[in-house]
Structures are given as structure tokens and as C-alpha cells.
Amino acid sequence: MPVVDFHFHVTRGEDYLRSIKPGLRALLEWKDSTGVPSQVLTRDGVTRFLDSQGVDYAVALAEISYASTIHPNNEDVAEFCQGIPRLIPFCHINPFLAGRPAQLLEQCVKDLGFKGLKLHPTFNQYYPNESLIYPVYARAEELGIPVIIHTGSSTLAGSRLKYGDPLCLDDVAVDFPQLRIIQAHGGRGFWYDRALFLTRLHENLYVDVSGLPPQRLLSYYPELEKSADKVLFGTDWPGPSVRANIAAIRALPLSEVAKNKILGENAAKILGLEG
């Protein structure tokens, strides 16, 4: 059973830290010395890092969000991930910067080798059920790739919470029944209940628990065990420590079967990975 981190930013640490709202910087755990991003984000460094954290695969995210200051673009992420099969690259589309976002997605998948898409409505400032982004969903469904969509709160400057309500994804799940949609951060803040409810309602919806303190998962999702097929482990690195979060999930009062699903089996299915 592989361990998969479904939410891993290949963003330089300096850039990442700069974009955190000053008062909230202390929230991040920078104590783990192996977690210093500029050391990790080299070709050898990242493999060593994954080994040291006990991770087999990580979903590596591009993010084109000038208004919130983080912007590793698709080309850079594609290049960084090339030849590192343990990194699964996901491209990012900002519908305000691409005239033909669906076409761009197809290029990213066919020419640059991306395996999935990340959308960031709260950074890019649109409702994820707006018509503006619908052609992208249609193309992703056609291409058979999964889409990660940020839901819930964020500590980064320039983020607007109103675009993060998971309920918007009910429309998307209904309109694109074959599209696999991952609600990143599982509705973080005050939408945990509806994020998980949606995964029960729609076969094609999942949550990832990145950026949530794993030891508290059962208080957010009391029915986690029952929903274990629809929950994906992720860290939001370079935020929290990957290793510590895996250990915290292993320590939860859940069945081994559920833990294995959450830590990697579900992800392996979605990503088509060899166990």
C-alpha cells in the first residue's frame, strides 16, 4: 500500500512565507529542519525528502495566483517533475489569465505531461460553479483527469473566503458526473459537514485533509471511518510536517483498513498508481 501526499506545493519557501499574512506566520511549523523548502526543492533533495518522510508519491501543484503572490507556473512545475516519477504534476489554470482555459488544460496534459488540475477559486476570485470555468471541467472530464479545488479558509494574503464554500461544487458534481473532484482542505473552517456530506451524495466527489491538524480529524468528521473511501491524505507542504501528520493519522482510533485507504489506497486508484 503506497503512502500518497495528495497536496504538495513545489513552491520556494521564501515565496511561500512571504505570502502568509504576517500575524499568522507562527501557525506554520518550520521547526522540522528537513522541511526547509529551498533545500528540498532540488531534483535529489525532493527524493531524499520523500524517503525521509515515508511518502511514496506526492501530487506536485502549480499555482498561478499573482494576487496572492504564489506563482510556480505550469512550465516550471512540469520541468521540475520530469524524471521524478514519484511526483505527480498537477497544472493550475487561472481563468482570468487564459482566454481559452480549456485549450490550455489540454496542452498542459498532452504536451507537458500533467496528470491532473488544481483550481483555486479563493485566490483567483471566482465561484467554482461559474460558467467561466465550465469549459475547463468539460475538458478535464473528457481527458479523464482529476481536479483538486480549494475549499474553505486560507491564511494567504489576497484570499477571499466566499469563493470557498464547498456547496458550489454540488453544481459541478451534478453537471460533470464523470469528473473526479477533490475538495482540498475538506471545507476548512466551518464547512466540514457539508464537504463530507457532498462526498456521500456524489460518487465523484472526494475531500483531501491537507492543512488540517490530523489529530483532530474525528472532531471535524465524526463519520470518518464510514467515509474512508472518499478521504485523501495530503499535507499542504511546505506548511506542516509530512512525517508527523502521517503518524498522527496512524494514531487515530480508526480501523487499519480505513487508515490505509486514506493514506494512499484511494489516491492510488484516482491517480492510477501501482501499489
Binding site: A67, S68, L97, G99, Q125, A157
Partner: protein, 276 residues
């Protein structure tokens, strides 16, 4: 009185359909790429101003990667530097910065910009959205005018719903000391509401770039009566100013109104003359 073109785009990095548009205004056979190459130099642009009978032109930054093209604020500042007859206006795209007011402040104080243009239909936002309000407040404080695209555009990817001039009524009411310029005068099907706003709000102006000047009286029957609120602009390298200036000189309105529209009002707004 000087002749002022309130609307030119010195943009080189443009999308394919914009070349086609430019080509339509050039003599048959002239290549739009070569035309821009030779005109968008410091010598070329002065030659352009002279040939078109312009004393000044407002040069616009644009950061429209979806619909038209990109010349950033920094690039535009460099282009205008040393050419006193160009009046640089910044562009603040709310999807490219989390701090629109700070970006405007930087453009005005550090880069010497004299105003800002917003492109709602190209950048997809309602101009009365609260995200823009800090920018309007800053512009009012700094005393620089804000141009806002209103009405239609023929470029791909444009969404016209953001172009209704009535959206600017909110802004005019909330920032009564801010000079607002309704670019293209509500082109297409909002001439009446754009004209109404310019008539009603003391600091709101109508700019007529991209409209066929010979038809202005059809769009704005009371043009002469409100000539204090109307600004000439061309939208070059689309329509060329020389021809459009001539067409305005031939309109059946008084000489005084023509002089105001062609530059008198602009000179006042932009403080181009020592005694204004």
C-alpha cells in the same frame, strides 16, 4: 488650445486578432507588425504625434493577456520616459494584484503616471465591485483621473456585461471628487446612459475613442450643449487620429465646442497648461 488624443495603445505584445484589427486601418499592403515596430520607438512616436497633428497623447498601459495584449506599467513608463508629449496612464488589473490601491500609488509616485485606466470587459470584473474601491479612493486622494472602458469591444474573450456605464453611477456617487472618464461613451447600446452620467455628475466625462466621429451627433444629440464633458480619443493603432480630428472639425457644432472636445477639456483635466 492643444489637440490631445486621450486614448492610444503603444502595445507591441498583442494577440493575433489585434493585428487583424490594426491592419484594417493601414494602407493596403502595409504589414501591421512592421508598422508597430517602426512607430513604437521614441522617435517613431514623436513622428506619429506630428503627422497626426497631436500636441499630446494619453498612452495607456494594458495587462490584458486574455483579450488584447500586454504592456506593463513598468514598460509603459520606460516608453514614455523623455517624451513629454506622452501622458502615461497605468493599468491595474485586479486579478494580477491583491493591492490595487498600492499599485496605483506606486505607479503615480514612483513611475510618474498621471492617471489609470481600467478594463472591466477585458479583465472580467464589475467596475463597481468593492475590490476596486480602495483604488478609487486612492485615485481621488492623489487627484488623478480614472478611465473605465464602457460598451462593446470586438476582441475575442471580451464579456460585454461588465461594460454597462450605469455601473459607474455607484462610483461617481461614492467618490464625488474623483474624475471619471467613460471610455468609448458606452459604445454599442449604452450611449444614452453614458451621456446621462456625464451630464449629471460634475466630475464624469465622456470619451469618444473608437466611435466614428461623423456619427457623434446621432449618438449624442446634445453634444454641443455638453461639450465641456466630452474628450477626443482615437484608440490608435486602431483608428488613426488625423482622420478622426478632421471629421470632428467638420461636425455641425460651434468652433468653441470643437476646441474643447479636441483638447481644451483634456488640457484642463491633465493640467497641461500653466494657467489652468
Amino acid at each position: 488650445m492643444p489637440v490631445v488624443d486621450f486614448h492610444i495603445h503603444p502595445t507591441k505584445d498583442i494577440l493575433p486578432w489585434v493585428y487583424d484589427w490594426i491592419e484594417g486601418f493601414l494602407p493596403p499592403g502595409e504589414d501591421p507588425r512592421r508598422y508597430l515596430e517602426k512607430t513604437l520607438t521614441k522617435e517613431g512616436i514623436v513622428r506619429f504625434l506630428d503627422e497626426n497633428g497631436l500636441d499630446y497623447a494619453v498612452a495607456l498601459a494594458e495587462q490584458n493577456p486574455r483579450c488584447s495584449g500586454v504592456i506593463t506599467n513598468g514598460e509603459l513608463a520606460d516608453f514614455c520616459n523623455g517624451v513629454d508629449r506622452l501622458i502615461p496612464f497605468a493599468d491595474v488589473n485586479p486579478h494580477l494584484t491583491a493591492a490595487p490601491a498600492r499599485e496605483l500609488d506606486r505607479c503615480v509616485k514612483d513611475l510618474g503616471f498621471r492617471g489609470v485606466k481600467l478594463y472591466p470587459v477585458y479583465q472580467l470584473f464589475y467596475p463597481n465591485d468593492r475590490t476596486l474601491y480602495p483604488l478609487y479612493e486612492k485615485a481621488q486622494d492623489l487627484g488623478v483621473p480614472v478611465m473605465v472602458h464602457t460598451g462593446t469591444s470586438i476582441f475575442q474573450g471580451v464579456r460585454v456585461k461588465y461594460g454597462n456605464p450605469l455601473l459607474m453611477d455607484d462610483v461617481a456617487v461614492d467618490f464625488p471628487d474623483l474624475t471619471l472618464i467613460l471610455v468609448h461613451g458606452g459604445r454599442g447600446f449604452w450611449y444614452e446612459s453614458a451621456f446621462y452620467l456625464a451630464r449629471f455628475h460634475p466630475k464624469v466625462y465622456l470619451e469618444i475613442a473608437g466611435l466614428p466621429p461623423q456619427r457623434l451627433l446621432e449618438y449624442f444629440p446634445e453634444l454641443e450643449q455638453y461639450a465641456d464633458k466630452v474628450l477626443f480619443g482615437s484608440d490608435w493603432p486602431g483608428p488613426h487620429p488625423k482622420k478622426n480630428i478632421q471629421a470632428i472639425r467638420e461636425l455641425s457644432i460651434g468652433e468653441e465646442a470643437k476646441v474643447k472636445i479636441l483638447g481644451g477639456n483634456a488640457a484642463r483635466i491633465l493640467r497641461l497648461l500653466n494657467n489652468t
